[in-house]
């Protein structure tokens, strides 16, 4: 019931597929309250991740996460690039030298990712950003880990909570990101970055565990 370097790579490959499949959905969400590029940005970023993972053959979970981070930072641009990049970078640091991750370690990685995103983007929960999904996910992940869940269990709980966290952005008025320019008119729409968080966590839960 642990997660190896192979699992982390499989999780990232799953993310590449999931992001490509949901590109248009993300575009539409971002068109409604942003500038319509979020789907493109995520797809470009994860295609770069895919390429770099092949080229770099990272040896540890941390190395996989770091390659993911630098690929995103150097290919995405936009707000999502540095934010998701920082998230994976902090997760890599949290993973340290470990060869395998248990449920508690996965939860700790997610917490580190959240801290990175809020340090970078200065968004609080309720600002209608990816933070809303990620914070909900971290709480659920920590609860699941406390209850003894393994990596897949932790990721499943995180993904389900991220769905709720994302859904909760719908009625909100954004205070960060482009959607904030809309004021009241942004209420009633799902935040694209929050949706991406949920999407990634589902992909990780499906492919990153002990299959």
């Amino acid at each position: 019931m642990v997660c190896t370097r192979q699992h982390v790579i499989a999780a990232m490959r799953g993310a590449v597929r999931a992001v490509s499949e949901c590109r248009d959905e993300l575009v539409e969400l971002d068109r409604a309250i942003g500038d319509g590029d979020h789907g493109e940005n995520m797809e470009r970023g994860f295609l770069a991740v895919d390429t770099q993972l092949r080229l770099a053959s990272p040896e540890t979970p941390a190395a996989v996460l770091k390659t993911t981070a630098t690929s995103l930072i150097s290919s995405v641009g936009g707000a999502a690039g540095p934010l998701f990049g920082t998230a994976f970078l902090r997760a890599a640091t949290a993973a340290g030298e470990r060869e395998t991750l248990d449920g508690a370690a996965v939860a700790a990685l997610l917490r580190a990712a959240l801290d990175g995103v809020t340090a970078r983007g200065r968004a609080e929960r309720g600002d209608k950003t990816m933070v809303d999904a990620l914070a909900a996910a971290v709480e659920a992940a920590e609860r699941a880990a406390d209850e003894g869940a393994g990596p897949t269990g932790v990721l499943r709980s995180a993904a389900t909570a991220a769905d709720s966290g994302a859904r909760e952005t719908i009625p909100l008025v954004a205070r960060k990101g482009r959607a904030s320019y809309l004021g009241e008119r942004g209420a009633g729409h799902l935040d694209p970055g929050a949706r991406s968080v949920a999407l990634l966590l589902h992909a990780f839960a499906e492919t990153g565990g002990e299959q």
Binding site: D35, G36, E40, G78, G81, L83, R175, R178, Y181
Partner: protein, 331 residues
């Protein structure tokens, strides 16, 4: 989607190739990563001015590279900020040893990517300072939100800080001048139609035949409010009033008035609107002593316009008047 393009995925690089062909004397163009520098970069012992941001706002920023303005511009994909790596590479080519001033429009993506770039560059022992442009009064000015967007004021800042750098001012001094422009410039825009991002293929929003979007940004993001189409007098007043109140601009102030097309507005309509704005300013005792009229900060083929007012002082006026030689601005 009606565009003169080949593959939508290549529009930025294809356009840069055309720029390179069109301005061999002024520009040097790289495509991987994509950026543009002055043909004589790096200029030894001169502060380098480097800017960038999503593409689709041309001539901003690439058209302002040249003597007396930018040393380098880094265009991201359409409406998406460039990556830190691209900015770092451009700074490396542009910096002449006197440090680099980064000009960043206040969008989360630009701020974060340029911040990261600045860290990377500092690690390489290049002096870097950043000025953030946030002149769009359509957005609430507040610290607990993303805050105001950078729009038309960016051109004025790049021209004036570029002149300071060309005169040999140091990095701190160029930064202070740039910040003075940022502090004294305000803008607001209106859209009559939406732009279409090439790889999306559909307009970013839709406006009915008799509607306009007031307080529009430059990315096809919706604006402050949607109202019925008005006469030119009504439109200009809607833009000018909030701009004037914000600084505020007062009776007796000397200002630069910049009447900007969002892309597809005929020049005749732009001049017409400019004339109205000058009249309204005169009525309030504000003295327009410098002006710029044209499509300088655009949003692809969006129809509409923005008004930018910069409160001038003697030094800013002198720097504005200094010679400039770039593809889009020359005197």
């Amino acid at each position: 989607m009606k565009k003169i393009i080949n593959d939508p995925a290549d529009v930025v690089v294809d356009a840069l190739r055309g720029m390179a062909a069109a301005h061999p004397d002024l520009l040097r163009v790289r495509t991987d990563p994509a950026f543009v520098t002055r043909s004589d970069s790096p200029v030894r012992d001169k502060v380098a001015l480097v800017s960038g941001g999503g593409s689709g706002h041309e001539p901003l920023h690439v058209g302002f590279v040249g003597t007396g303005m930018l040393d380098a511009a880094v265009p991201g994909p359409v409406f998406t900020s460039p990556t830190p790596d691209a900015v770092r590479t451009a700074v490396r080519e542009a910096d002449g040893g006197a440090g680099t001033l980064l000009v960043v429009k206040n969008y989360t993506g630009d701020v974060l990517n340029f911040e990261t770039a600045a860290e990377l560059v500092r690690a390489e022992d290049v002096g870097v300072r950043t000025v953030v442009v946030r002149d769009d009064v359509a957005v609430r000015d507040s610290t607990d939100t993303a805050g105001r967007r950078g729009v038309g004021g960016t051109v004025l800042l790049e021209k004036i800080a570029g002149a300071a750098a060309e005169r040999g001012h140091g990095l701190d001094d160029c930064h202070a001048t740039a910040q003075r422009v940022a502090d004294n410039v305000r803008s607001m825009g209106v859209a009559l139609s939406a732009p279409t991002v090439p790889h999306l293929g559909e307009p970013s929003f839709t406006l009915a035949e008799e509607e306009m979007e007031v307080g529009i940004g430059i990315h096809g993001e919706p604006g402050r409010e949607r109202v019925g189409l008005e006469s030119a007098d009504g439109i200009v007043r809607r833009l000018l009033d909030p701009v004037l109140e914000d600084l505020p601009f007062r009776d007796g102030d000397e200002v630069l008035l910049f009447t900007n097309s969002m892309g597809a507005t005929p020049l005749s309509e732009l001049y017409l609107a400019h004339g109205i704005a000058e009249r309204m300013l005169a009525e309030r005792g504000i003295r327009v002593t410098r002006r710029l009229v044209g499509p300088y900060v655009t949003s692809l083929e969006m129809r509409g316009m923005s008004l930018t007012l910069l409160k001038l002082d003697e030094e800013l006026t002198r720097l504005w008047d200094d010679p400039v030689r770039t593809p889009a601005l020359t005197w």
